[in-house]
Symmetry: C2
Subunit: 311 residues, 2 copies
């Protein structure tokens, strides 16, 4: 089958046409990929972010179940969570399967991903896509779930003032999700033209002296925390949503004296993400789809989201 | 009157015998100090931590009310909170008076402190000391309240595993307070001999590979956060309790990927601190008391706690 393979020796991606179709284990399903999407993490892997990983890239997909231990799923259109947990460790046994210490992560850690015609996946990670949601929209389930994780972790009240830092893709998804809480939302960005698209659901600014109860860093930059520090109220909350290579120098005493909380946030719940997409409460720009062989163009695309079409 | 005065021009303390007895404002009480105690913050001020402050040092005291707008308090033995709030700002109006942006802080910001025979204080900051508590014990109210602030901010469950980092005074107070929750507590220190005193209410270790749901940094060192990062479980909580000069270099992505929360914690509630001291549920070593003129000895004392006696 066709596959985009990451070789950690060569630190680059290779397009293959003869990669073997995987065989599902007893607990797994075989998925025919319909659409898969590129995430920033994929680009980070290509830059060397995961030196131990070697295999098919990609973790955002919509597919069709070809074979499964759960016969009811066969023929269904699905999306899939990305963390395959062991069920045995302290995290699995305390409701934190996403943090399983033995976990495999599709296209990221010890498990082939979805930039291929077929993929296997632990069946319990699958969610059926409601018929109302086209695949080009359902592809946003995983990143929207990650945005919802903020609301899963932190109580954002309708009366709160919230700032989201950044005017990119991550911020766009987070801002829409947060706007549904009714909170007084301001998106703080650098580019007037990018901020235009936020204006239907948020205030926007390129420069503010206001302060906010909750500040969400979606800048993708190590210095996002420093801007958040300036904008958050005393006793307020900073949610850090973006990962990046490199460290940042922090004066922790500021957070002690002002009793500020900093919360890291990663993967989130799929069911509510599918529900919001089905109801059209979160709307996202169309994904820019390529043939897998044109992966270089797809990786370089400046569209809101790009990916691959396998049909 | 006698007073220990910090002069920010000279960056040193001066012992005076002719400092004027202060006159209380309409909302204030005049306090005759019985006992006052040295806190690490006082030593930091002497090192230049508060370059804007000029005045009488000290913020931990037990005193007797000489005059007050609240006549019922006159003659009573009291302790006092340290943050004098404006009542008007966003923090005062949202239950965060400790963080008032116009606040004066006794012996720290814009307000003479308690290393003197008399002091004035906003009457609403006073708490009557129950007769059962000797002044030498009541002097611990303010630091114990600060320890309780952790439990005020974070839900520490009886079934949680908690590590407190540090084997000094701050850790001793925090560890005792946390031990009352019933949580499985481990104090992580560097000095076997200091850890001895923790053993009646906590496990102790100088080196652990265990992980904990909640890690409280009371090391007083910028690198405490890095040890906390190693010991905290994924999706766990780090409480930072110690302030220090200087920054620390942090890989924030670690906190995002592992969804760890970092919470700063400072001043706390006096009433429960007095209640625990009254019931003898928190016990602390005797304070080492000096005459004010012997302030250098008091500052250099290696006792658990040192301070001044004015009677």
């Amino acid at each position: 089958m066709k596959a985009l393979y990451y070789d950690n020796q060569e630190k680059s991606a290779r397009y293959l046409e003869d990669y073997e179709i995987p065989t599902p284990k007893p607990c797994e399903s075989l998925i025919k990929i319909l659409v898969s999407a590129i995430c920033n993490t994929d680009k980070e892997i290509l830059k060397g972010y995961k030196p131990d990983f070697c295999g098919v890239l990609g973790h955002e997909f919509v597919g069709s179940v070809i074979d499964s231990n759960n016969k009811e799923l066969i023929g269904k259109r699905v999306v899939g969570e990305i963390n395959e947990s062991c069920g045995e460790c302290i995290y699995c046994k305390t409701g934190r399967e996403h943090h399983c210490i033995n976990r495999k992560v599709i296209g990221i850690t010890d498990k082939d991903g979805c930039f291929a015609e077929y993929m296997t996946i632990d069946t319990k990670l699958l969610h059926i896509v409601p018929d109302e949601i086209p695949s080009e929209v359902a592809i946003y389930t995983e990143p929207l779930a990650a945005a919802l994780e903020i609301i899963e972790q932190a109580h954002i009240k309708p009366s709160d003032t919230v700032a989201v830092l950044g005017d990119g893709r991550l911020s766009y998804m987070i801002s829409q999700a947060v706007s549904l809480t009714g909170a007084d939302l301001t998106v703080v960005g650098r580019h007037e033209e990018k901020l235009e698209q936020f204006k239907s659901f948020s205030k926007t600014t390129t420069n503010t002296t206001d302060t906010f109860e909750i500040v969400i860093d979606a800048t993708g930059s190590p210095t996002g925390i420093l801007l958040a520090q300036k904008l958050v109220r005393k006793k307020g909350l900073i949610v850090i949503k973006s990962t990046y290579a490199g460290t940042v120098e922090i004066d922790m005493s500021y957070f002690v004296v002002n009793e500020i909380t900093i919360m890291g946030s990663r993967c989130g719940p799929f069911k509510p993400a599918l529900q919001l997409l089905k109801r059209g409460l979160v709307t996202l720009p169309p994904i820019d789809l390529y043939e897998l062989k044109d992966y270089k163009k797809a990786l370089e695309s400046r569209s809101f989201k790009s990916g691959f079409r396998f049909i």
